[in-house]
């Protein structure tokens, strides 16, 4: 497998960093290599946040994403800022609850109204990140189902494991 670089971007409070951690963890549980990094503003909520995961069979050198293969955009600002770094043959997964306008792009676009579904199905916007991860898994086939489930279970607190798993599955189901 060649190196796949994933960027998840949104604002603080959308679970962007957690999604990256779970993805990276699942990759490692699948016995591949992963590096996850993050950057965010000083505020707890609301500032621009991004989380990056590099996935590879080989040892990973440089840990930062320059051009990404997959962009998971959680809001309009993140999309507008990072679309230019998405490779031409890349994949864009957009949370269309928060993204109203997708600029013209060569990339393959998947529209997932994750925040809306999270609120309707689970009564909380915060599960949108798991829906997006579900969509990512279905689209890319980069991580195994087993590893994802274990990674979710190891990353969140006991009482919300089930809801997170359900949100993840819902995200998979949303991909046509």
């Amino acid at each position: 497998m060649k190196k796949v670089e994933v960027r998840i971007a949104g604002s603080g409070g959308q679970g962007v960093v957690l999604a990256g951690q779970i993805l990276g963890r699942a990759v490692v549980y699948d016995r591949k290599n992963a590096v996850q990094t993050q950057s965010y503003g000083a505020e707890a909520r609301g500032s621009a946040t991004k989380s990056e995961v590099i996935i590879s069979d080989d040892k990973i050198g440089f840990p930062m994403v320059r051009k990404c293969d997959v962009l998971i955009a959680m809001n309009q600002e993140a999309l507008d800022k990072y679309l230019k770094d998405l490779k031409e043959d890349g994949i864009l997964i957009a949370d269309t609850t928060n993204i109203k306008k997708i600029p013209e792009t060569q990339a393959k676009v998947f529209n997932i109204p994750a925040t809306e579904y999270a609120e309707e199905t689970f009564g909380a916007k915060i599960y949108a990140n798991m829906l997006m991860l579900g969509a990512f898994t279905k689209i890319t086939n980069l991580v195994s189902e087993k590893a994802m489930q274990e990674a979710i279970a190891d990353a969140v607190t006991e009482k919300v494991i089930k809801t997170n798993e359900e949100a993840y599955k819902k995200g998979k189901a949303l991909v046509q």
């Binding site: 990276g24 490692v28 290599n33 992963a34 996850q36 050198g61 440089f62 840990p63 930062m64 006991e158």
Partner: protein, 381 residues
């Protein structure tokens, strides 16, 4: 509750790997004061050290933290603190005391951008010289530099082992990037990990500060009469604040017990250092750019050798000299303004041209593209 399976492969943050390694190495006392980007080490140890039978304390500041670490070491515990540049500066007086009193301890400095509070959440490598010369007087420091989360684990254990072996403070010179990134860490079986413990005195031994290269260290409260002082002292701990010979003997030994083992302490990941056109000396997060850059350069026929230093101090002269013998030019990429550069230049002694590649601000790493461009530029000139 379903029991989670025991794993030996983890997906840890650098700081978490450091904390886990400390426990494996036998650390049973931690004292610190929160500071970005080192706080997670205190957080993890606050949760986990008590379970391992140790103590983790949040102190009122960094001065108290390093004081408690030195005290705990004399009380017999392997001890550690973790901080970043501003806190490392505050600790320097007592770090000097730890050198002078030969107190084994580990000081983790997760570098961020300075001077002063600088850019608190952003990565830098500006404490290279502070790790060597931060406190006053003549002394020799050991400083190790990890470039992956796996190495945060491995070098933390090594730091404890060296501290115990040489009875000296050891600095783990990490950086924000490595401390905050998450990567897999594979833990070997605990029995296969080498753990070094300080030599304690045998009954009747009284020279706790000399007569041999690394004297035995008693634990206070076990019946040995031991005076621990930062003032010049003789082999038995008695203060001699004017005698030139006692001072010379003590301080020369404090230096030679490290410097005489410089080659043995020198650890580096190397590639083609005995046959290359262009050399690279790198360390920490910056070194993550070299693999791709070297691959690109070699693809078009430029032979590049590198030494990625795991040991920063004592400076691995033998390895750098070897590279300088063959490389026409040596590039030194670092996220500071030429701190390691002059050290490489000193050791190369004019046999290679040393080329700086520096980047500071915003925590932006030197990219493989920037390094490749520097290699190409160096070949052309």
């Amino acid at each position: 509750m379903k029991k989670k399976p025991e794993r030996n492969t983890h997906f840890w943050q650098g700081n978490e790997a450091c904390a886990e390694a400390a426990i494996v190495a036998g650390c049973r006392f931690f004292a610190g004061y929160p500071i970005t980007p080192a706080s997670e080490i205190a957080e993890y140890l606050g949760k986990k050290l008590p379970i391992a039978g140790g103590i983790a304390m949040q102190m009122e500041d960094e001065l108290a933290s390093i004081g408690a670490v030195v005290g705990a070491s004399w009380a017999g515990a392997k001890s550690m603190t973790a901080t970043s540049g501003p806190g490392f500066s505050l600790m320097q007086e007592t770090i000097g005391y730890a050198f002078m009193t030969e107190t084994p301890c580990v000081i983790v400095d997760v570098q961020r951008l300075g001077p002063s509070t600088g850019q608190a959440t952003k990565c830098g490598q500006g404490d290279v010289m502070q790790a060597r010369w931060g406190t006053h007087g003549d002394y020799s420091a050991i400083a190790l530099s990890p470039n992956s989360v796996q190495e945060m684990f491995e070098l933390t254990i090594k730091a404890f082992n060296l501290a115990e072996k040489y009875r000296t403070p050891v600095i783990l010179l990490a950086d924000e990037e490595i401390a905050h990134m998450r990567e897999q860490v594979t833990i070997p079986s605990l029995e296969s990990i080498e753990i070094v413990n300080r030599r304690k005195p045998k009954l009747g031994e009284t020279a706790f500060f000399g007569l041999e290269e690394v004297p035995p260290m008693p634990t206070v409260g076990e019946g040995y009469n031991v005076a621990v002082t930062g003032s010049t002292h003789n082999e038995y701990g008695i203060r001699f604040t004017a005698d030139p010979n006692v001072h010379k003997r003590l301080v020369e030994r404090l230096n030679s017990k490290i410097q005489d083992h410089a080659d043995e302490l020198a650890e580096a990941e190397t590639h083609s250092i005995d046959d290359c056109q262009i050399g690279i000396i790198s360390f920490g997060c910056t070194s993550r750019a070299i693999y791709e850059a070297v691959e690109k350069a070699e693809a078009i026929g430029v032979t590049v050798g590198y030494a990625r230093l795991k040991t920063i101090w004592p400076f691995p002269e033998k390895i750098v000299k070897k590279l300088a013998k063959t490389a026409e030019k040596i590039i030194v990429p670092e996220m500071n303004l030429k701190q390691l550069y002059y050290e490489v230049q000193r050791v190369a002694g004019g046999s290679s041209e040393i080329i700086a590649l520096n980047k500071i601000g915003g925590g932006e790493l030197i990219t493989p593209e920037e390094l490749t461009a520097k290699i190409m530029e160096s070949v052309k000139d």
